[in-house]
Assembly symmetry: C2
Homo-oligomer: 217 residues x 2
């Protein structure tokens, strides 16, 4: 499959690298084409990897991954172009973390709205699925690096899109039973607000490589 | 120990009942003395149980538990009286859930502030410890009802108060290693915002009797 990955940072590079390793053709998109991180990624990812602008990546992808910093996601997706996202599954991995007041960050949108909803409203013809935003990049693509059972949450308004994303997540190593569908895209509020706990657990746990297991009584 | 439990609902009754069963003397406080739920609780809880107003319960307790509905906690604590809370450990169990727009609830305070912080600011001489707000009442007092490892979070500005609350939680059945101290009271933001995920997991899990286990990679 051709995948457009928006974002050239750690999350974008990790996801794009995993997708290439699984045999997909991946175009990484940035604010401008030819940026240093994207070119370095292409050089080491090898066959199947390419880079360009947000619009280039969106045009290339049959499926699009938003791995931009959440504070800039709406701008990045506007640059990608609504017409290049229309009808496509858009996996929103971003968290609207605002570091402007230092650590721990706040959320730039929360409680009565979410980034996932903002993206869906801005791009009503895209099939937005919120996923993967609750774990660090290395865990996204190697769930077995956290031992035992633990879960991912997904949500979105398009059931077929969520099914397609679930298959993709399973190819990353997430067992089907570990993927908890919370319902429509408004549930992105829960997935994003959990980050307020996650950023605090980061210090207690001693690093980002952790996840939660929902234990039922 | 003499404990004042503010709140006559399910959470207050469950915590007060557990405290009596552990040998503590408990006065349950409500908006008015002699309310039906409080009287019924006293009748069945037996020796060691009494009820009165918020102020009565606060005056009685060496340690105070805020188990009121979060939207009304500041009002309840004002009625309890700052002078009756001063110097005492105040365990804040409440969540500022706003059901006015239906399910799932939003939070009446979030992101850049929290109920725990509001309470500490309103009562600077109380020693506020946020705890127990991330599990349903029955799990608060019977952690073994959820099998295997799972955690509670606590936070507060007073280390000695947190140590005292930890001992109390251990008497409820929480293993010491399951109590994760997130730091100062501002971390109540994380503990309360997690509720936005919790209320959504409620539907997926099929009931409130669940908790999360933080799994480390």
């Amino acid at each position: 499959m051709q995948v457009g990955v928006l974002g050239t940072g750690n999350v974008g590079q990790t996801l794009a690298g995993k997708l290439v390793s699984l045999g997909h053709d991946v175009r990484m998109g940035g604010r401008e084409a030819g940026g240093e991180p994207a070119r370095a990624w292409v050089a080491q990812a090898g066959s199947g990897a390419s880079e360009g602008t947000f619009a280039d990546a969106a045009a290339f992808g049959e499926l699009i991954v938003n791995a931009t910093a959440g504070m800039h996601s709406l701008e990045a997706l506007a640059a990608a172009g609504a017409e290049r996202l229309a009808g496509k599954v858009l996996v929103d991995v971003a968290n609207p973390l605002d570091f402007s007041a230092g650590m721990p960050p706040t959320l730039s949108v929360a409680n009565t709205d979410s980034l996932g909803e903002q993206i869906q409203r801005a791009h009503p013809d895209a099939r937005v699925v919120k996923a993967l935003n609750t774990v660090t990049a290395s865990v996204m693509v190697a769930p077995e690096s956290v031992p035992g059972e633990h879960e991912l949450f997904i949500c979105g308004d398009d059931a077929a899109a969520k099914a397609q994303v679930s298959v993709l997540l399973e190819s990353f190593g997430w067992p089907a039973a570990s993927i908890l569908d919370l319902g429509g895209i408004a549930n992105a509020r829960g997935m994003e607000m959990y980050l307020a706990l996650w950023v605090r657990l980061l210090g207690v746990v001693g690093g980002p490589r952790f996840n939660v297991h929902v234990v039922r009584g």
